[in-house]
Symmetry: C2
Subunit: 335 residues, 2 copies
DNA sequence: CTGTTAGCGCTTTCAA
DNA sequence: TTGAAAGCGCTAACAG
């Protein structure tokens, strides 16, 4: 079933059917109704490939997601899509291979689908800074910064990681904690982790609290199992620690579980804080004390930045979005 | 950049470039290398729309996912995709509107993208049985049964819900529980919930244990908040209850949190069981006693059924996959 | 307002 | 083994 079939049945030309399907004004009401009736009768939907091939004017925005397993990114993508529904664009979620060069993959997506714009949900631009130069399609990275990536087509919108980490650090210090462990990403490769680290340490420094990375920092992937292992490593290296700052809720959940297995109660013996503010954080026992990333705000600002760039040619921007401190039950005053 | 450009630069015809790109054998090694060199030089990727438009032989399989928020379905889709990588097919994840007719949406996807096959990750065929008749593209529903849907193109692969619910019921009964509440989906609309309900009740009946739906069954969506509310409702309606069987881990997590808020300890005062076997279930405090759905097995069998149908014209099948009982810490003997 | 027509970039005959 | 040419289904420009 093609528009040719529809045209034949309506006794009109292809062009007319196309015009009706695309809501062009220059069609008589009578004709429009006749075509619509037939379209409806067969539940006709036009072939996307042909449409895209012909009209370079694509109206598609690709959402690139690294892996599918992150709860945070899933929520983010969901919100972006919801917001997009009201706009005259089609979204196209592409799942990228977790361990591949995302700039290269993005370039391929551009070639393959010719989207009007790209949204990176998560992802880490640090490794592939140079490769972004090849991409001329407007892009926005959401939940990570890209200030120092050389590209005139790349915007970024992210939570103010430094301030958020500082906020959490102040909270722990205010509760009397002096010997605090950190579970975070690999500082050598992730600027995101670096920012949270830097923010946290700045507060310790301000209060004259020493920090020995060797004993107090454990590297972990953003996963439950890794968070658990990192917690164990910290406990062994630094038994007197009274609190752990983790860089994601998922790490925190893993850490709490392992601490419990090791006979340390949370928060009784050790306080643990998360980062992200996942829904589930508020349903755990104990409820997680965490930083909520404002996903709606991130989605909205990210989209706005992208569309400003696409529709109005505004230059790319790099924005920080505020966060929310969530007081849970996983921190208590040091006894 | 199109294959025309590549052809010009190579000094050959379009056909040759196309043949190289598609690994056709009838190209001289010399020519092949020359083309490949140029393709590589520009990082050329051919335009998907044109390709699909021309070669009706699509090699695309669409994965239809209802909503994006279910952890279980995300894991499932991830596994399907991983398995697909080795096969000569391209996947295309389409997120369906949560509250719309999925058969209609599937039909539109077929028209729009002309996939070779469809995989429903989750979803509920019950409502739209008749509408599936319009779909001639081979389909498989994974994690739900579709035995009674009238369609010669629809397979299904699901966990043996009845046996799983029976298994959990036996476990609770063996631990001395007699007054057990159930948190599950709407029995009027979800055959999945019905099966789990039926399985569970059959065991109670076998042991001569009474069950009053009015006081012991609470309807809930598959969400944290709803699980929590349902738990509260049960506690009020049936204060002596010593255990709750929930139909998903997410409901169980919500329930445990609310029970804790109401001053009931889990499992001390009330035992709670989950269903699904999410990774996170094993990191909670207490670890969840649950039924693990074997996602790899589901993905594999679902794909096999679909490909058998597509490639070898085998008739559609409806299969049940076994499950795994996971002994956690959220159930204890009734005191 | 409407029908006709020229491609969009690609694959796949068909001839050479 | 290769080049030329015919469309896939659609949109948009043009002519009526």
């Amino acid at each position: 079933m093609t528009i040719k079939d529809i045209a034949r049945e309506c006794g009109c030309g292809l062009g007319t059917v196309s015009r009706v399907l695309n809501n062009h004004p220059d069609v008589s009401d009578q004709m429009r109704e006749r075509v619509l009736a037939v379209v409806h009768k067969y539940g006709f939907v036009s072939n996307q490939s042909a449409k895209l091939l012909r009209s370079q004017d694509n109206k598609t925005i690709a959402i690139l997601m690294k892996g599918t397993s992150s709860i945070l990114l899933n929520s983010l993508v969901e919100r972006i899509q919801k917001r997009m529904e009201r706009l005259p664009y089609t979204t196209n979620v592409v799942v990228l291979d977790e361990y591949d060069n995302e700039a290269k993959q993005a370039y391929q997506v551009c070639q393959r689908h010719r989207p009007l714009g790209l949204i990176f949900a998560g992802g880490n631009p640090d490794f592939y800074k140079e490769d972004f130069a090849n991409i001329r399609t407007p892009c926005v990275i959401i939940t990570n910064q890209a200030n120092d990536v050389q590209s005139s087509s790349l915007s970024s919108v992210s939570t103010d990681d430094i301030a958020a980490a500082q906020c959490m650090a102040e909270h722990l210090v205010a509760n009397g904690h002096r010997n605090i462990g950190i579970i975070g990403g690999d500082l050598a490769s992730s600027e995101l982790s670096q920012r949270r680290y830097k923010g946290f340490l700045s507060v310790l420094q301000k209060h004259g609290i020493p920090f020995d990375p060797e004993r107090q920092y454990a590297v972990s992937k953003y996963s439950l199992g890794d968070g658990a292992n990192a917690a164990q490593q910290l406990v062994y290296a630094n038994p007197d620690m009274s609190a752990i700052f983790t860089m994601s809720d998922v790490m925190a959940i893993g850490a709490i579980r392992r601490l419990t297995d090791l006979g340390r109660s949370v928060p009784g013996d050790i306080s643990v804080t998360g980062f992200d503010g996942l829904d589930i954080a508020n349903f755990l026992c104990p409820r997680l004390t965490t930083i909520r990333q404002l996903l709606d705000e991130l989605a909205e600002r990210g989209l706005d930045a992208l569309l400003d760039n696409i529709e109005r040619g505004k230059p790319c921007s790099h924005q920080l979005v505020p966060f929310e401190f969530v007081a849970g039950e996983s921190v208590c005053k040091r006894s």
